[in-house]
């Protein structure tokens, strides 16, 4: 079976025991993203302190890939600066476009930590959007939080 290449043990662990799940206060921005082709949904909040992502909280409904991706993202971005987190998001995007190329995964392994396990998903074009849903929501929420903060100062 090829399935194991997609459903790495790390992914299934994040799916079954998601990190940081739940919607928390306080927050600076909340977004709701859906994947219109399959109906997967995520509500995501970000709290920013200065330039740092202090918290990401979320509720989601969807497949194991989309849900595990949020959990792995939570581990990666909380405590990072907004620009660092979005940079990591760009690299995750690169991984998702790699069509399973192991060289790309190897290069990004240190930075993406658990999220590098999604390399196998990039071999299945129909599932790439599942893994990217949370990152798109984070990008959107961060932009809103930053623009709100900018407006207030």
């Amino acid at each position: 079976m090829q399935l194991e290449s997609m459903y790495q043990e790390i992914i299934l662990d994040h799916y079954k025991n998601p990190h940081g799940r739940g919607l928390r206060d306080p927050f600076d921005a909340e977004v709701h993203h859906v994947n219109p082709t399959c109906g997967d949904e995520i509500t995501l909040r970000v709290k920013i302190d200065g330039d740092t992502i202090a918290d990401v909280s979320y509720e989601g409904m969807g497949c194991s890939i989309s849900q595990a991706s949020i959990s792995a993202m939570y581990d990666l971005v909380v405590g990072k600066s907004v620009s660092e987190a979005l940079g990591t998001g760009e690299h995750f995007m690169t991984l998702m476009q790699a069509k399973g190329d192991p060289a790309v995964a190897e290069k990004l392994e240190d930075e993406l930590e658990d999220a590098v396990a999604f390399a196998g998903v990039s071999k299945y074009p129909a599932r790439v959007k599942c893994a990217l849903l949370s990152w798109m929501a984070l990008k959107d929420a961060s932009a809103r939080a930053v623009s709100t903060a900018g407006g207030q100062s």
């Binding site: 399935l3 109906g39 969807g62 194991s64 599932r127």
Partner: protein, 437 residues
């Protein structure tokens, strides 16, 4: 080899299948390929699009290699022959549903056929020709659909209402996956201009009673459209018996090519509709100051049509008629009964839709406890089994039944008991893989 022998371990009943699946499979070149590292293709996604028999592919190739020309233009021999082939297919496709060829309009697909009527009804309000205003929809008018509709039979009507100020109303669903007709007489009322309803749900498999809806629509003078995208490919249909004003369906779901669909309309209704798309070949006289249009069906076929695809659809109709639509229907009924039994044997599997074969077709949606449909679909795909996952372009339906999405298996003439056994085994494999059993 016919598939009647029952496996000793199979609890579900295998009635002898009306169609010889092995003989039919030999007609479908794609079924000889393998997927995902050499696995036999188990194609259970005909509801999304059907596979094509060689006879259909040959007809398209024959057209391009021998008679290709733009129909209804030019006087050369090819143009004559292409027009002949195109019109002969129209007559054949008409007779497949008991309609004269003058009532058959070719569109791109079901979606476009529905949009054609929706736009004609809003164009009617501003039509110069008084006859074309007969069915105009405006403020105070109502359009009725059901909660069971594919997005293709919902959004065009939502949009029509937004353009015209009319109100969209709908019939709800019962908990067991059927249309709730208890408030039919209030939802369909004197203000109703058109009722559009699916004959067979693409997600629940439910076959809807059209007669009471038509009867009520007639009492109030409303038009009736039947979405036949999931019924025309799978059961015998006669438009005279149906009693509606419009029937729409797609070629690609009934063994035909993509890019061709059909709008059947009662001639006297079509005759009073203004065009949707305008341009070449739908005109009578064109002047810089204004133009007049051809009678139906040409009025609704602007531009060079999808001629080869229409010829291909004609071949698909020949293929289905040779099998016999009664037989096709019985075949799928036997498969559906078997599949419902097989799925019921698996703990954690819930069918979303009618639980038996009464007024039900072969579209079976289900959920598997604690496994998201995408993940079910992924395991099935790994085993070579193609199913559809998601909301099936019927988002209100999955919302109505409180599930985020479903996995759906659909059957057709080449489907056999072995395909359904593969599905059931695949679901169990998914449960094992995700550790839910």
């Amino acid at each position: 080899m016919t598939q009647t022998a029952s496996r000793p371990d199979a609890g579900a009943q295998r009635a002898p299948l009306p169609l010889d699946v092995e003989v039919i499979r030999a007609d479908f070149p794609i079924l000889t390929r393998t997927v995902r590292d050499g696995k036999r293709l188990v194609y259970l996604d005909s509801g999304a699009t059907s596979q094509k028999p060689r006879q259909v592919l040959d007809a398209e190739r024959w057209f391009y290699e021998n008679v290709n020309a733009a129909p209804h233009r030019g006087a050369h021999q090819l143009a004559e022959e292409a027009t002949g082939a195109y019109e002969e297919a129209r007559a054949k496709i008409g007779s497949f549903i008991g309609a004269p060829e003058t009532e058959i309009v070719f569109t791109r697909n079901t979606t476009e056929a529905i949009n054609l009527v929706a736009y004609a009804l809003s164009n009617a309000a501003t039509a110069k020709e008084p006859d074309f205003r007969t069915y105009a929809v405006g403020q105070g008018d109502e359009i009725v659909v059901t909660e069971m509709e594919h997005h293709a039979n919902l959004l065009p009507w939502q949009q029509l209402c937004e353009r015209t100020g009319a109100t969209l109303r709908w019939l709800g669903l019962t908990d067991d996956g059927r249309l709730d007709l208890s408030d039919l007489d209030t939802v369909v009322n004197e203000r109703t201009k058109l009722v559009s309803v699916t004959q067979q749900s693409n997600i629940l498999g439910t076959i809807n009673p059209i007669a009471p809806i038509v009867a009520r629509a007639r009492e109030v003078g409303a038009l009736v459209m039947v979405d036949g995208a999931q019924s025309v490919p799978h059961q015998p249909i006669d438009v005279a018996e149906l009693g509606a004003d419009f029937l729409v369906f797609s070629g690609h779901k009934m063994l035909g090519p993509t890019g061709v669909g059909v709008l059947w309309g009662r001639y006297e209704v079509l005759d009073k509709l203004p065009p949707f798309l305008t341009g070449g070949s739908m005109i009578e006289v064109v002047r810089m100051e204004g133009s007049t249009f051809m009678p139906p069906p040409q009025r609704f076929e602007a531009g060079v049509p999808m001629t080869a695809q229409v010829v291909g659809l004609g071949a698909a109709v020949d293929y289905l008629q040779a099998l016999g639509m009664d037989t096709v229907e019985e075949h799928e009924k036997a498969l559906t009964a078997y599949a419902l039994e097989k799925l019921a044997e698996i703990p954690g599997v819930t069918v979303i839709g009618p639980p038996d074969t009464v007024a039900r077709g072969g579209a079976i949606s289900f959920t598997v406890e604690d496994i998201h449909p995408h993940d079910v679909g992924q395991v099935l795909d790994d085993l070579g089994i193609a199913v559809r996952v998601g909301h099936h372009c019927a988002w209100p339906v999955v919302r109505r039944y409180g599930v985020p999405a479903t996995t759906r298996a659909t059957f057709y003439v080449h489907t056999g008991y072995d395909d359904i056994d593969a599905l059931a085994d695949g679901i169990r494999a998914a449960q094992k893989f995700f550790g839910t059993v």
